[in-house]
């Protein structure tokens, strides 16, 4: 960011305000492009992983090599579809909801540090901010469900919102021990605190076993937070058709789709930078790998884990979902916070 800023002020002779705005605009364009690309790649990946888990091939024809162009073809198909708005729908809210859902995840993407000093919005509260803006997604889902004027959509939206605001609690609590350890809410500081190979990552159970437990709490909560299987209650196709986006077609549907994969990658990236050392290479001799590549590989591996879980485990019931959140995960996460604090005091790891 500093480099880009200097380039705009030095080489192009822009003023401070102008350079700041230009940097922000460039970063916004980069982030949006990466997000759209990642949604396309992850769609293909999801189909291939699903095929692999179920002993079949998945897409094989489009683009010759393992159907790599299937996702591109799907995107083109979606762009060409008719935009249908139900006659009884609340038109304004119906149109606005997909934008809000996408906005929620895009805003959160802004605070992700991809490499040292390469982050769209570098500020002290990064991690807290990410969890806060994610709540826009909940509002967008409620809006979509209500505006569709469809019972399935409304049920899906109500389930989605209830699930997301419940699982936000263990999700945020699981990150708290890491914040305590790094002494900062800035994602960059949290990554920098884990410098020096795999033994220094926060997930290492020997340095602090409570952080190890917190990682699994975070991972389970993040699956529920992205509304994916086995916690895909808002979309249960056997009972709710498709949940809150039942009535959406074409581009508006694509927005929900994009947001789902953007969120999936977002929660995986947060896990990577909070628990798995962000952009640091796992072993000392691997310094030649570009930091951003390290980070993306970790994110994609976590996405793979997420897909693995989705295509392996059967869906839970609504009451089981709530039981798991309120009676198991929240107490365990709270225990992690207290335990991690005591552990750090006992071994003198506090900053």
């Amino acid at each position: 960011m500093k480099l880009m800023y200097d380039f705009f002020t030095g080489q192009l002779g822009l003023g401070a305000a102008g350079a700041n705005i230009t940097v922000a605009a460039v970063m916004a364009v980069i982030m949006f492009t990466v997000m759209a690309l990642c949604a396309i790649i992850l769609t293909w990946m999801e189909r291939k992983v699903a095929g692999f888990m179920q002993s079949r091939y998945g897409p094989m024809y489009t683009g010759r090599f393992h159907g790599w162009a299937q996702a591109v073809a799907d995107m083109l198909k979606i762009l060409g579809k008719e935009d249908i708005i139900p006659a009884e729908a609340d038109k304004g809210l119906f149109k606005f909801a997909p934008i809000l859902v996408l906005l929620g995840s895009l805003l959160a993407w802004a605070a992700i540090p991809w490499a040292p000093d390469f982050v769209a919005a570098d500020f002290d509260l990064g991690l807290f901010y990410i969890f806060a803006v994610s709540s826009l997604v909940v509002i967008g889902i409620l809006m979509a469900g209500w505006a569709s004027n469809n019972k399935w959509s409304l049920y899906g939206a109500a389930r989605g919102a209830a699930q997301m605001i419940s699982y936000e609690i263990p999700l945020a609590l699981a990150v708290v021990p890491v914040v305590m350890r790094a002494g900062s809410l800035n994602p960059q500081d949290i990554v920098i605190a884990q410098q020096g190979g795999i033994w220094h990552w926060n997930i290492n159970p020997i340095t602090n076993p409570f952080l190890f437990i917190a990682f699994f709490m975070y991972f389970i909560a993040s699956i529920a937070e992205t509304n994916r299987g086995p916690f895909d209650m808002p979309e249960t196709e056997s009972e709710l058709v498709a949940g809150y986006h039942t009535e959406y077609t074409g581009m508006r549907f694509a927005f929900f789709f994009l947001a789902e994969y953007a969120n999936l990658f977002l929660v995986s990236m947060i896990a990577a930078l909070v628990f798995l050392g962000g952009w640091w290479a796992p072993f000392p001799g691997m310094g030649w790998i570009p930091p951003a590549l390290n980070f993306i590989i970790k994110g994609v591996l976590l996405v793979f884990l997420n897909m693995w879980v989705r295509w392996t485990l059967p869906r839970v019931r609504v009451d089981q979902l709530m039981h798991l959140c309120w009676k198991v995960m929240i107490p365990v996460s709270l225990l992690c916070v207290v335990g991690a604090g005591v552990w750090m005091m006992a071994w003198g790891q506090l900053k």
Binding site: A17, D90, L93, F123, D124, L125, F128, Y129, F131, A132, V133, S134, S135, L136, V138, I139, L142, M143, W146, L154, A158, A161, A162, I165, E168, L185
Partner: protein, 179 residues
């Protein structure tokens, strides 16, 4: 210049949807309009250099309170437009109340000597944390006890309703009521 522009934009973002909240005929629309007002207020906090407060505003009001408000509103029956009452009894008490609130707020804003200065750009989180754990630890703990009491109260209210009616629950209550 840019600061003024940002201020005006934030003010519009806060005030225009606020009017919508009050005047909308559709209670769900009113709820959704509240989103913009709350985000606008968060923007003001950020604009004034209170970054922690801004993000907390988003987290608590948009992520929590607004979702609950929307839930409540969506579950209630929306009366058909046209069957509304427009009598004076519906107009006068709110108007009087609104005028009173406006008067008090106006008085407060004009009477208090505000400490006007440049908004600080330094991060506030660490300082807030230190203050909460040292100078303000008693109010902090006090608030948490109040919230805990509210939570327990809410849990008890829900439990009683789900039990109510069943003979066992009534018998249990009688048993407990006996000294």
């Amino acid at each position: 210049m840019i600061r003024d522009l940002v201020f005006v934009l934030l003010a519009l973002l806060t005030v225009v949807p606020a009017f919508w909240v009050v005047f909308s005929r559709n209670i769900v629309h009113a709820g959704f309009a509240l989103l913009f007002t709350l985000v606008g207020v968060a923007g003001f906090y950020g604009f004034l250099g209170a970054d922690f407060l801004a993000v907390t505003q988003l987290m608590v009001y948009v992520g929590g309170v607004l979702v609950l408000v929307l839930f409540t509103v969506m579950m209630t029956h929306v009366p058909a437009v046209g069957r509304r009452r427009h009598g004076l009894d519906r107009l006068v008490p709110p108007a009087v109340f609104a005028a009173a609130v406006f008067g008090v707020l106006y008085k407060v804003i004009t009477v208090v000597k505000w400490n006007v200065g440049e908004a600080s750009t330094s991060p506030t989180t660490a300082e807030i944390g230190t203050q909460l754990m040292t100078n303000y630890v008693f109010p902090f703990e006090y608030v948490s006890i109040v919230l805990l009491a509210a939570m327990v109260g809410a849990a008890i209210l829900i439990r009683e309703r789900s039990h109510a009616g069943s003979d066992d629950a009534i018998a249990e209550e009688k048993q407990e009521a006996r000294p």
